[in-house]
């Protein structure tokens, strides 16, 4: 039985394909090293501009935070390029910022949508690194995303200046040499909030936790649980809810009959808005009495944006915040004014941390005198600064976590306008929330990675 041989045998085809593939890959290898200067690193800028990547959630439960972060990034880029009123460029101490871009190069930026999903965030970050040649990535409104993008940035050799991420893991067990976080974390929230809770609600309480089911929720639940149990509180139950659940009534129904007299909502963004509103309006928990005590709700991580979304439900609710635009210091006033003039609303804490991170990166590059990441990292590690709105702040070298005062805030009973929904109950000093860097484990890893320049 004759079998006709096709013009191209399978083997020949495969060989040709493989050869062709290798052939096509070769030019890329040469092009990469062609423009390397003294130090080879990822996306060494050659032209008159330097590009930063802002990777924020534009859809999903944290979309509001993402939109505000993006505004802050745009403002930071303007100020770095010497446009507008300069904002915190003028108040940072010590500062090497010159208001003419970074190392004389004009700052440009690209944006991307993380969709609050690790996969999408990494794809977006990879596009920024490979296609747009960014030197630094910032943003993210979810710790799951921050942890995922941070480890990608470590692999690629690109700086990651975390935006809003509150999980202990970001600078704990998943910390990376290329990742830095200005925002506070769940552990600090617990340390700051605990004493206030004991003062307000007493030490004989039973808590019921509803927790967003991912790294941030887990660590916040753990931190708050530890802090409250140290005060003598008991924990009735901890229930995990999926991120972006929308309707929380099935999780709220058992709360009042569980014997708990405090509900702790480890939610953020759209989730917190929904769960808190349902707890207060639908289940009317705030007016209930359990165990002879007034039922209370606590939202450990609080923000102005969420207070706007939740409306009347936030009145009297206690929580913590990284920063608030009503703080009484010069830098805060400068930023609130500058942001307000540009966008017509005061900046949220998410916007603040993203703005500050961008400026801190720029300042570190100016200090190092080069974009070479290992030098920039050295300039940031152990950097002690002031004039960013939080008072004296330290970027700890051991875990790349910022240490500064933490605010305990409360939903205002009689707000005067839509931006005045929270009052600062207490400013907890930095020493009280500082912890030993080794308690969460993890390793920073190396600083000299070839990354995408390899």
């Amino acid at each position: 039985m004759p079998i006709e041989t096709p013009a191209w045998s399978r083997r020949r085809l495969l060989q040709t394909s493989a050869a062709l593939g290798a052939g096509l890959a070769i030019p890329h290898v040469f092009v990469r090293n062609a423009w390397s200067q003294d130090k080879v690193f990822c996306n060494n800028p050659t032209g008159g501009t330097v590009t930063l990547g802002f990777n924020v959630p534009q859809s999903g439960p944290y979309a509001d935070e993402g939109a505000d972060e993006l505004r802050a990034f745009q403002l930071a880029v303007q100020h770095l390029n010497g446009e507008g009123d300069g904002g915190l460029v003028n108040t940072l101490k010590p500062s090497n910022l010159k208001g003419n871009g970074i190392l004389g190069k004009k700052v440009a930026y690209v944006t991307g949508d993380t969709q609050t999903k690790s996969d999408a965030a990494r794809a977006s970050a990879k596009r920024m690194i490979e296609s747009d040649k960014v030197l630094m990535i910032s943003g993210g409104s979810s710790s799951g995303v921050a942890v995922a993008v941070q480890s990608l940035c470590q692999d690629m050799g690109v700086m990651f200046m975390a935006g809003l991420t509150h999980s202990n893991d970001t600078t704990g067990k998943d910390k990376r040499r290329y990742g830095f976080r200005h925002f506070f974390n769940a552990y600090m929230s617990g340390q700051a909030l605990g004493p206030v809770l004991a003062e307000e609600y007493g030490t004989d309480r039973t808590a019921y936790h509803l927790t967003a089911d991912y790294t941030w929720g887990w660590t916040q639940e753990e931190s708050i649980k530890n802090a409250t149990e140290a005060l003598g509180w008991k924990t009735a139950q901890t229930v995990r809810t999926p991120l972006g659940a929308g309707d929380f009534s099935q999780y709220l129904t058992p709360v009042l009959n569980s014997g708990a007299d405090v509900l702790i909502l480890n939610h953020y963004g759209g989730d917190m808005v929904n769960s808190l509103r349902q707890a207060v309006t639908q289940f009317d928990m705030k007016s209930k009495q359990v165990n002879g005590k007034q039922f209370e709700i606590v939202v450990p991580l609080f923000s102005e944006l969420m207070a706007q979304g939740a409306g009347d439900a936030v009145k009297g609710i206690l929580g913590t915040a990284n920063w608030d635009w009503k703080l009484d210091n010069e830098a805060t006033k400068v930023l609130a004014k500058s942001f307000g003039e540009e966008y017509g609303s005061p900046p949220s804490q998410a916007a603040h941390t993203c703005y500050v991170q961008t400026l801190l990166y720029a300042n570190a590059v100016e200090t190092a005198g080069t974009f070479y990441p290992p030098e920039v990292i050295k300039a940031l590690e152990g950097f002690e600064f002031d004039g960013m709105g939080n008072g004296p702040t330290l970027y700890r070298a051991d875990d790349h976590q910022c240490f500064k005062d933490v605010l305990v805030v409360r939903g205002k009973e009689n707000p005067t306008n839509q931006f005045d929904l929270m009052e600062i109950a207490k400013v907890v000093p930095r020493d009280q929330v500082t912890y030993d860097a080794s308690i969460f484990g993890g390793e920073l890893g190396p600083s000299d990675v070839k990354g995408c320049a390899a």
Binding site: M1, G112, D113, R122, S131, A148, D213
Partner: protein, 406 residues
């Protein structure tokens, strides 16, 4: 209408004769029809391998997106074997994609960073998983089959988030870490505490090498799909699509064929999932969500159901929209339209901006509607129309027949 277009070429009309021929003859029939297919394969291979060059002008000439093109091309190719060939619409194929990813990352954690081991394991695990789900789901057909697969996929997704968190690490996603054992690598004398990227016998599969690895597997997958389409087995699937009852009455048990098609397409999805993990060693449960299952249905329909090339094109179009369109912001639009006078520029930017950035879903939806309404056979049908019209124009034809399709 589209079904008759799809089946008439490779023929149900021809199939009864070929079915009853002895195996050797069928083989010859396959071989003799294959020359043009090999030409297509060669052109396909060339086009895929040169993607970095010809896709650069539209902003897609960087490794990550091209890797995604290749990977989701494989995913859609496999899905098409089930949906396009046999007409069974699975709405839960993302489950196999996710399973493949988890399997691959576990190999990276336990055995070795060698991509080959991970990919093979991913295919095997996804195949077994597909066998289990397929065995149950294929007891029903039509909408009930779709709903069963959807239910299984959602179940896997929710399990990955809740009960199976020790295996899947929940929302945070499964990642490699310094403390993993990596038995084979340690035996080979590599220091397990240095975190490496997946490699193929020493070639780190990041960036361009990663793309060529995926591209070669895509070409291979395309070749296998072509062989399946031209085989007796493929004809069986087309026959099931055209009329399953007739097949049953002629004495064929159709379920084994369907199950085989289901498992094969599950293995393709596993391969795609494994490759996702190879190019980026992180597996998250998002990959199993029903939206991801819906995505592959969209890709296939967009490109052309039942065609060879269609799903690959559909996958690329969709990933392009998702990655590139979603990154256009207003600043970018102003720069692209700065050749226009200021007033007009602002006007154009206002018109265009809802369709880019976070509005890319809107563009995708519109594109999908246009394709489904005007080109039920997908982009491939559009291409066929164009070539026909072009040829008509050459011979001076009126184009009458091209229009009768609608």
């Amino acid at each position: 209408m589209s079904e008759s277009v799809l089946t008439s070429e490779k023929g149900i009309g021809r199939s009864p004769a070929e079915r009853h021929r002895p195996k050797g003859d069928g083989m010859r029939g396959f071989m003799s029809s294959s020359r043009s297919d090999y030409v297509i394969l060669a052109i396909f291979a060339l086009a895929v391998l040169t993607m970095p060059v010809w896709l650069a002008p539209i902003g897609a000439g960087y490794p990550d997106i091209l890797q995604k093109f290749a990977i989701f091309g494989i995913f859609a190719l496999g899905f098409n074997i089930l949906f396009g060939f046999s007409g069974y619409l699975s709405f839960g194929h993302a489950a196999f994609l996710g399973t493949g990813s988890y399997a691959a990352v576990w190999m990276f954690k336990l055995l070795s960073m060698n991509a080959l081991i991970a990919v093979v394991f991913a295919i095997v695990v996804a195949g077994i998983f597909a066998l289990l789900i397929g065995y149950v789901s294929l007891r029903r057909s039509g909408i009930y089959f779709s709903i069963l697969t959807l239910a299984f996929a959602q179940m896997s997704y929710n399990l990955a988030y809740s009960v199976l968190t020790p295996i899947t690490n929940g929302e945070t996603g499964l990642q490699t870490s310094r403390s993993d054992p990596r038995i084979l690598d340690t035996m080979m004398g590599a220091d397990p505490h240095i975190l490496r990227t997946p490699d193929f016998f020493g070639i780190a599969l990041q960036g361009w090498p990663g793309f060529y690895f995926c591209a070669i597997l895509l070409i291979l997958a395309f070749f296998v799909t072509m062989r399946i389409k031209n085989s007796t087995f493929g004809l069986m699937l087309f026959a099931i699509k055209s009329n399953q009852n007739r097949m049953n009455y002629t004495g064929f048990s159709t379920r084994p064929y369907l199950l085989a098609a289901f498992v094969i397409s599950g293995m393709y999805a596993g391969l795609a999932g494994g490759l996702l993990a190879v190019t980026d060693p992180l597996a998250g449960a998002d990959r199993m969500q029903w939206t991801a299952s819906g995505e592959v249905v969209l890709m296939t329909i967009l490109g052309g159901v039942g065609t060879l090339l269609g799903p690959v094109i559909g996958a690329a179009v969709m990933k392009y929209l998702e990655q590139i369109f979603s990154s256009f912001n207003e600043g970018f639009l102003h720069r692209s339209f700065d050749f226009l006078p200021t007033g007009l520029q602002d006007f154009v930017v206002t018109i265009v901006s809802p369709f880019v950035g976070e509005g890319w879903h809107l563009t995708l939806g519109l594109l999908f509607m246009i394709v489904v309404i005007f080109l039920p056979g997908g982009i491939m049908e559009g291409i066929a129309h164009l070539t026909r019209r072009f040829r008509k124009g050459e011979t001076g034809g009126s184009g009458q027949t091209a229009r009768t399709g609608h």
